[in-house]
């Protein structure tokens, strides 16, 4: 065991312990760590946006690309015209931003989430091997996939037809598929959070306390 002599490691370790102190109860040390985290994050993000977005754009504008000042001007409008008679002008930058975002995301969302997903859902129910025999793994996979897609879709419209027994049955299957999906997602998230927790402990043990592995 050899304690770290690096001041940065010490600051990090003490902050980690301060955050872990919430496991005992809400306390002053935890709140200090929380405030430091928020302040440092805000400073980091400001510097990053300034140096990677604002500063290069200003430099390019000064170098002759004056059109780059138009979004800067509209951005400033958002900040200063929140109240008063001229606040209607806010609609210009807001609509510009909404239009730009929509034009980009419509292409991506429609193709990635609609077109490609529907295309991928169209496949034969019985999959054959090159020798003409049934490939059971792919066939069962296809059946589960198509049943899941159909029943989940029915689940979302089943409320409109509560009296139709067949729809209710399919909706129950859809609910089952959704619960399996949510459970799987939860399991993966739990694993990820455990890794995060272990990561902080690993830092305390190996880097701060200097306890070597064997």
């Amino acid at each position: 065991m050899s304690l770290s002599s690096d001041i940065n490691i010490w600051i990090s370790a003490l902050l980690v312990l301060a955050v872990f102190s919430i496991l005992y109860r809400d306390n002053f040390i935890y709140r200090i760590a929380e405030s430091i985290f928020i302040g440092v994050s805000a400073g980091y993000f400001f510097c990053l946006w300034y140096f990677s977005v604002i500063k290069p754009a200003f430099e390019d504008a000064i170098a002759g690309q004056w059109h780059l000042l138009v979004p800067v001007f509209t951005g400033v409008l958002i900040l200063i015209l929140r109240k008063g008679k001229l606040s209607e002008i806010l609609r210009i930058p807001a609509s510009f931003l909404a239009g730009l975002f929509a034009s980009l995301t419509i292409i991506i969302y429609f193709r990635a989430y609609v077109f490609e997903m529907i295309s991928a859902s169209i496949f034969p129910l019985v999959v054959l091997t090159d020798e003409g025999k049934i490939n059971w793994t792919s066939t069962v996979n296809a059946l589960v996939s198509i049943t899941g897609t159909a029943s989940v879709l029915i689940f979302f419209v089943a409320r409109k037809y509560p009296d139709v027994k067949m729809i209710r049955g399919y909706a129950e299957a859809g609910r089952f598929y959704l619960l399996v999906a949510i459970g799987t997602s939860f399991g993966y998230t739990l694993f990820s959070r455990i890794l995060l927790f272990a990561g902080r402990f690993d830092f305390l043990i190996s880097q701060w306390l200097g306890i070597g592995f064997w």
Binding site: F45, Y109, M117, A120, Y188, L190, F191, A198
Partner: protein
Amino acid sequence: MDEKRKTKMEVTEWYLKISLIILVFATIVASPSFSVDPGNEEKAFFNVVDQMDEGSKVLIAVNYGPTARYEMDGSLHLILRELLSRNISVVLFTLTELGVETISLGMREGLSGQSLGKRRAVYGRNYVNLGFIGGGTLGAGIISKSISSARTKDVFENELETIPIMNGISSFNDFSAFIEISSMKIDGTPGAVILNTLSKEKKMPVIAVVTSDMVAEYIPFKDSGQIDILVAGSKRMAGLESAFSVEGISTSRYSIASILLIFVIFIIILSNTVFFAGKRSEFKQ
């Protein structure tokens, strides 16, 4: 709830917390290592890298921050080392603000003390860091087929035209492969899918390496063919190390997390059993 039962539950809670801390401590110090066989995706990843010619250029998006470093750093280090040791150049960028620091640390820690064959990795010649590119800016750059629409300088303010590695690169499609190492979606869409969707002439393999909590989000994109190779989750990252015949930090961290997960599941089952047993005895009384 009566006072006696409340105190009993608080004591049990503390026993569980302390035993969890002891177990985490013991597991990390013992550093177990389970070997994980490479799956089809990891083998496919290996084949893509193995078949790449020397002098090829790979575009890597590092889209994760400090919260995912423990899980993802192993894969980032492995990919960087494997590519650079095969004389394949690497162009790094990030679609999240948090990734700028991750790239710097990844390069420093991943390549420190590592020999890349007989060479050393030289900034500008073997690798370059473009820094942060916003999702919309990336989209504009892909649509206009010009990398300069998205970025004209690297993270150190060097003009891209003056950097040797950027010779012959004018658009995002000029790379031999695109690898996204990610723990998040960008505006609701995976970074790899943004590139795949907006580039009309897709010719390079699109690969994603993602954290455990992103597995369910990325699988539909893999199944629909929008991502060619998906290394999803901690176990598969350990499998990736196995595919490259390396026993690195992904394998040991996966092993640590597996033991802890079993313990957490055990606690969940135990606490539920105790809770329902208590309810039953209350009901009987």
